[in-house]
């Protein structure tokens, strides 16, 4: 009964229980480093956690016993109703999309205004950013750790063009923020090309650090140039978006709901657009680069140009999102920290690389989790739980919540053939071919 493996499992469960006790226990300070530990472990409360740990262990054993039975049942069910037929049809996909869209439309009406704020600031904008980064990371397989820099560029460009008071440095004319969208998009894409052209020749990891450096540089420049960007004092007073056409006058205000629907519309359009891109020759070329860059090059795919294209497209979406941020509210260089870049990467991977729905789902789940934890745990401890969830998720579902089909196959293949294609996409551009 008590095999060594089982015993080991028990220890792991107990360790997890104690860890949970420590995480939920009282905080301490450096003067008494182990006081907090002692208080959370030497406390009647620990009984609950030990109990839960043992319970978990028993449950694991029970499940292990029941598993063959369970497998039979599911196999039988699967045999009766082919999953592929049930879920794979185009009608089913359209239906699913319609349901998701309807849910996205209704959802904000069911929650508090604070949650709506979060749905705009944390989920909506980050979903858009994640969709853009997904092109870079998911489609082209390039790791960009300074993605947020283009977001900053978009935001500052908006301040430059649409307000004469928000920053010390501004355009000689003021234009409606709506017209800034194309400008920001182009400038961000241009920045992407300028950064990408020399660096995309580098290997994947080097690209990561160069982009990280670029992100840092942009943030530091924004923070240091007081006479240009207003430095750390930030940008206040960019006008809200407004439509001023004959017959239609509408102004977005500080209420989050109109911004939410605007964002939803944009996200849907971007998703459709990227879906078409993915299924076009360009999307296939990216897939080829990801899977075998040398073969792609030999098949005539201009790999550098395609990567640059992905970089520019990703950057332009980020710049676009920057316009939305700037018109919605006050921002300062803090909004463009390295941590924000990491967060976007985390959303893309967590949601499922290469999957548009995954990017959005990642934003909803991760940022939603952050919002949920806001009330449930002490704010100072919030990121402990957040970190734990990310690790657990990566252990049990490294392909992400909603992996794209192509990406999932790549991961499966990488699992079967040792050392197969580099999942970062950036196979070393060696001169050693064959």
């Amino acid at each position: 009964m008590l095999t060594p493996a089982r015993l080991r499992q028990l220890w792991v469960c107990l360790a997890l229980g104690v860890l949970a006790a420590v995480v939920t226990g009282p905080g301490g300070d450096s003067a008494h480093p182990f006081r907090a530990l002692r208080r959370s472990v030497v406390d009647p409360r620990i009984g609950i956690f030990i109990g839960l740990a043992v319970g978990l262990w028993v449950l694991l054993i029970a499940v292990a016993r029941l598993r063959p039975l369970l497998a039979e049942v599911t196999a039988a069910a699967r045999a009766r109703r082919p999953v592929a037929a049930a879920l794979g049809g185009p009608h089913a996909t359209t239906g699913l999309n319609a349901v998701l869209l309807a849910a996205a439309i209704v959802a904000p009406l069911l929650v508090s205004t604070a949650a709506q704020q979060s749905m705009v600031n944390d989920i909506g904008i980050y979903a858009l950013l994640a969709l853009g980064l997904n092109v870079v990371v998911g489609y082209a397989g390039l790791l960009d750790l300074g993605y947020i820099a283009f977001f900053a560029i978009g935001a500052y460009v908006t301040a430059y063009f649409s307000s004469s008071s928000a920053m010390p440095w501004h355009a000689p004319f003021v234009i409606n923020p709506f017209f800034v969208f194309p400008i920001a998009l182009l400038i961000a894409a241009l920045a992407g090309v300028i950064l990408g052209a020399p660096t995309l020749r580098l290997r994947g990891d080097y690209l990561a650090i160069v982009t990280l450096g670029f992100g840092e540089i942009i943030q530091l420049l924004a923070n240091n140039s007081d006479e240009v960007t207003n430095g750390s004092r930030g940008v206040f007073g960019v006008p809200h978006l407004s439509v001023d056409l004959p017959g239609i006058h509408y102004r977005w205000g500080i209420d989050p709901l109109p911004y939410y629907y605007l964002l939803l519309g944009i996200v849907v359009v971007v998703m459709i657009a990227f879906g078409r891109l993915e299924r076009s020759r360009i999307g296939r070329a990216w897939a080829a680069i990801r899977e075998d860059e040398i073969a792609a090059e030999a098949t005539g795919v201009p790999t550098l140009r395609m990567k640059l294209l992905a970089f520019a497209i990703g950057a332009s979406v980020s710049g676009f999102a920057g316009v939305l941020l700037a018109t919605k509210q006050f921002f300062n260089p803090q909004s463009f920290s390295l941590q924000s870049s990491f967060l976007v990467v985390a959303i893309v991977i967590f949601g499922g690389m290469g999957s548009r729905l995954g990017a959005v789902t990642g934003a909803v789940v991760l940022q939603g989790l952050a919002f949920y934890l806001r009330d449930k745990v002490p704010p100072t401890d919030r990121y402990i739980y957040f970190g734990a969830v990310i690790v657990v998720m990566m252990i049990f579902r490294p392909q992400g919540l909603v992996p794209s089909r192509r990406r999932r196959r790549e991961i499966e293949l990488a699992g079967t053939t040792a050392g197969a294609s580099d999942q970062l996409g950036a196979a070393p551009i060696g001169r050693t071919i064959t």
């Binding site: 939920t24 449950l59 604070a114 750390s232 206040f236 500080i254």
Partner: protein, 389 residues
């Protein structure tokens, strides 16, 4: 195997979520028939600067606990906290959370100027009073926020007074002004440098983002050989800077603003490195002010032995000023009446007299000078008096 592990993880996550939920949902409603007034706290409770938020939160909690222990008060206070991580991105969500809670009559916070700028439009729209214990950006009271007050003087007041003191009393000819490139630091150094230049002193300016490594910065400062080094930033960085300067044998005088007025400064820099540093504040420091001894005692008692830190006193005063208003209003309590009445409050706090100008600036803020002597921060007095004598 994998599935078993997955189940385990799910179960554990469930357990954590449940206990967390259980911990989070006890909202101590009073049982002795007194009515409960809810106030909010918005501040930086996560991220790199969370200690400043905790200082302020503890100050608020001290005031709340004292009020709830006071049998003479006809009400109990309940506190709802909302974390904005000090960032403008999370400001609106944090503010909205408090606004959504219709029971909340007033808010202490936001704390950082950036988060304040992002949050105040919402408070203004909702007509909810917010009293910041720490946002010192001068522009905040000029942006048209209707329900914004702060119990701390803007950087301009402090910077100017500090410059006067440095020029008149320390007789500095050359000042090295270093700021931490934060909203607070650049505001303070700008005001200081303007006044110093007006008084004819040579000013060398430099900015350095908060870091741990001030070694080469110390070399740079010593190379300039200034009479006074003024650091506009927070104590954690000043401590490291002082340490580095001390190691390299800096001969000049170090002065810093209210962000550095914290007993932790001496502890972290080491008594030797901190010795002789001047610290200034448009407030009196609770830890060294005899009048605030009672506050320090009750703060320690309520917060598990922690000593008041930067912004603890201001947050405590802001909360007590709110309680004063609640007391005066009696049964006529609403967001409007509280916001209305708060403008006329006149309350002697531990850091200063809480009384406001029409724009929400606290009146008659005095600038006080402190100095580290024998490892203790002692008050030297009011800038105006010190310059006169």
């Amino acid at each position: 195997m994998a599935r078993r592990k997955l189940l385990g993880a799910v179960a554990l996550a469930g357990v954590v979520a449940l206990t967390a939920a259980a911990c989070g949902s006890d909202d101590g409603s009073s049982s002795d028939g007194k009515k409960t007034i809810t106030i909010g706290f918005q501040g930086v409770l996560s991220g790199d600067n969370q200690q400043l938020g905790i200082n302020a939160l503890y100050g608020v909690e001290t005031a709340v606990a004292e009020a709830n222990a006071n049998a003479n008060l006809p009400f109990k206070i309940r506190l709802v906290q909302s974390d904005d991580a000090g960032s403008p991105d999370q400001g609106p969500t944090a503010a909205q959370k408090l606004i959504d809670n219709s029971g909340i009559l007033a808010v202490v916070g936001p704390m950082f100027s950036g988060a304040t700028k992002a949050s105040e439009p919402l408070y203004s729209q909702a007509g909810l009073l917010s009293v910041s214990p720490s946002a010192t950006n001068p522009a905040l009271t000029t942006l048209g926020f209707k329900t914004f007050y702060r119990v701390i003087a803007p950087d301009t007041v402090q910077g100017t007074a500090d410059a006067d003191y440095i020029a008149a009393v320390l007789k500095a000819k050359k000042v090295f002004s270093l700021d931490d490139k934060s909203d607070y630091g650049t505001g303070l150094s700008a005001a200081l440098e303007k006044e110093l230049k007006a008084r004819g002193a040579t000013v060398v300016h430099d900015g350095i983002n908060p870091t741990k490594n001030y070694t080469s910065e110390a070399t740079k400062i010593i190379a300039e050989n200034p009479d006074v080094l003024f650091y506009s930033g927070y104590y954690a960085e000043l401590a490291l800077l002082s340490k580095a300067l001390h190691d390299k044998g800096f001969k000049g005088v170090t002065v810093s603003g209210d962000g550095s007025l914290d007993a932790k400064y001496v502890e972290q820099a080491g008594a030797a490195a901190a010795e002789g540093t001047y610290l200034t504040c448009p407030c009196s420091d609770a830890n060294s002010d005899p009048n605030a001894a009672a506050f320090v005692e009750s703060y320690k008692k309520i917060n598990g032995g922690a000593r008041p830190g930067t912004y603890s006193g201001e947050a405590y005063d802001a909360t007590n000023a709110l309680i004063e208003v609640f007391k005066n209003l009696g049964d006529n309590l609403s967001r409007e009446s509280v916001a209305e009445a708060f403008g006329k409050v006149n309350y002697q706090g531990v850091t200063k007299l809480v009384k406001f100008q029409p724009n929400g600036e606290v009146e008659g803020a005095n600038d006080f000078i402190y100095r580290v002597k024998n490892g203790q921060i002692v008050v030297l007095g009011n800038t105006v008096d010190l310059i006169k004598s």
